[in-house]
């Protein structure tokens, strides 16, 4: 049962072939047995999960079961969930038991889903390897000497290891797509504004977006249907008509125009990744798609632009952590300023402090125009490149990440090398477009490769169709890491 899709699990629950309590216990047992080697969870709370499962079973018994009712879903520890420890991967929030639910947590609760636990992540979602978590590094299920990617590395690892059928993630510069690629699962970052940010701990507010992570595009569609929706508590939440993201899954792909940006296949891309992506593109030709060469000339500037804008917004967002109303407070201090400084220095990790410093610098007097304003102007040029490209194609494809999962500690001392691992994903956040990653083969050392699919604004239904048709023709998404197939 732990290998079945969300739809199969939902059908089994509604047909009373299995109860939610049984399904939840099955996953909790699997987590107890296998998570110690992966460290994919920060918090598990068997009592709270099973209480939700009991409620789901009562709802199913009364015939009121919805598509996700009774299904356990792992939640990234960036989402506030009432009564759950919510750390965001930081010592700063080591004791923060949330007094309220994030919007998406309420949506899952309303659907009757079970919160299976809070997944490990890079501290405040700042990282591409999960090595910045205060709660220890997550290991990649395909090779535990390698990183799972980040920042949603715990969610990616837990889905890849079949410790849950689905998880949530957030993506500010690639934090859903890159770990999905490195762990061999499917993940989708929706159009900015589609999913409410209420109760999702803020990193860079103009870029942050939550999305689903699962094994297949079909499962992602089901999750996305539950996660989206207007929420007045998020000032950037968009008011749109309700859409069924699963409605186009079965459309054939004949006539689909796929744009390949030449910048995504240039220097810096590893051969094994290039090969797997090219093979996937060939498969799309078999499925009836046409390939169009396109160019995104300003995308090369996306990393520098991002490392001005995201830290600037982060330095502002993270100024709220001062040791007064919640979170970590230093044990000793002399006065108020000393209390702020010591609490923040001891509560934040190195990468978070580094980004706060960059942000504070670029926003400081005399530097604002040269950095922040210049970055915002180039952000528009990057977005305009995509608008131009979509005049000629329906979706854009390329690699999600320039390499497969690297070794733990390999990029630890060099922040710039780490930042460059998000080179193909960041432009999508800057433009606010939807992007996804699906497994498309294996590279050196048998590590998974992700194919990135970038859509036009609000084109998630088409992207999921494009991904689903590929997954009907291939079986990469059904591969399970060695040693995790059974209940050993």
């Amino acid at each position: 049962m732990f290998e079945s899709s969300l739809r199969q699990q939902g059908d089994a629950l509604r047909a009373k072939k299995i109860s939610s309590v049984e399904l939840t216990q099955l996953y909790l047992d699997r987590i107890a047995a296998l998570n110690p080697r992966l460290n994919a969870f920060i918090t598990l709370n068997q009592d709270m999960s099973l209480a939700q499962a009991h409620k789901a079973d009562a709802r199913l018994a009364s015939g009121q079961g919805d598509l996700l009712t009774g299904i356990p879903i792992a939640q990234k520890d960036i989402f506030c969930a009432k009564g759950w420890l919510t750390t965001c991967g930081s010592k700063m929030l080591h004791n923060f038991v949330s007094p309220y639910d994030a919007h998406i947590i309420s949506q899952f609760n309303n659907a009757g889903a079970v919160n299976l636990g809070k997944t490990n992540m890079d501290e405040f979602a700042m990282g591409s390897s999960n090595e910045t978590s205060h709660y220890g590094t997550v290991k990649n299920p395909w090779d535990t000497s390698r990183v799972p990617g980040g920042s949603s590395g715990g969610s990616a690892a837990t889905v890849a290891a079949r410790l849950c059928a689905a998880a949530t993630g957030t993506d500010t510069g690639g934090s859903i797509r890159q770990p999905a690629a490195l762990c061999g699962i499917s993940g989708l970052k929706p159009t900015y504004g589609l999913v409410s940010r209420y109760g999702m701990i803020a990193f860079a507010s103009s870029l942050d977006q939550a999305g689903p992570m699962a094994r297949s595009a079909e499962d992602l569609a089901l999750l996305l249907n539950t996660m989206v929706g207007f929420d007045e508590r998020d000032s950037t939440s968009l008011q749109r008509e309700v859409e069924d993201y699963a409605c186009n899954l079965n459309k054939p792909l004949s006539g689909l125009r796929i744009g390949l940006p030449k910048e995504f296949f240039a220097d810096g891309l590893d051969n094994d990744v290039a090969q797997a992506v090219e093979t996937a593109i060939a498969e799309y030709k078999n499925l009836g798609a046409t390939i169009i060469d396109i160019t995104l000339p300003n995308s090369r500037l996306s990393v520098p632009v991002y490392y001005v804008l995201a830290p600037a917004e982060a330095s502002s967002n993270l100024s709220r952590f001062d040791g007064v109303r919640y979170g970590y407070r230093a044990p000793e201090y002399t006065d108020l300023a000393d209390m702020y400084e010591k609490s923040r220095s001891q509560g934040f990790g190195e990468e978070v402090k580094r980004r706060i410093m960059i942000g504070t610098y670029v926003l400081s007097h005399g530097y604002y125009d040269a950095y922040y304003l210049q970055a915002q102007k180039i952000r528009r040029l990057i977005a305009q490149d995509f608008t131009e490209a979509y005049k000629h194609c329906d979706v854009i494809m390329g690699p999600t990440s320039p390499s497969t999962a690297f070794k733990l500690g390999e990029k630890g001392d060099d922040p710039v090398q780490m930042y460059l691992s998000d080179i193909y994903t960041i432009a999508v956040n800057l433009a606010g477009l939807p992007g996804m990653s699906i497994p498309c083969g294996f590279g050196e050392n048998n590590m998974p490769v992700g194919l990135q699919i970038i859509g036009n604004y609000f084109d998630e239904a088409r992207m999921l169709n494009v991904a689903h048709q590929y997954q009907l023709a291939t079986d990469w998404h059904n591969r399970v890491p060695q040693g995790l197939q059974g209940n050993e």
Binding site: Y192, R325, R329, A383, V416, G432
Partner: protein
Amino acid sequence: MSLTTQDVTKVARLARLAMNEAEIEAARSQLSGIFELIAEMQAVDTKGIEPMSHAQDVSQRLRVDKVSESNQREAFQAIAPQVENGLYLVPKVIE
């Protein structure tokens, strides 16, 4: 671009981060590397380009100015580092 020790000390103070000399020096060298990466965007001609602050061109929604949240003082103060009689305690700031 190379940052000076004074630059880093000033930024640390503005960001309310306590740092000792060794930490300042480590931050200086790492931040200099990052600003080298960032410098790549300085050469781009952006004359006449409107800055982009958000992905969607929509205006900020307004709401009626009325109370929408219920009082949850006890729940919120239960997770505070130090409270007394419903107040958050911090070190004395006025003599």
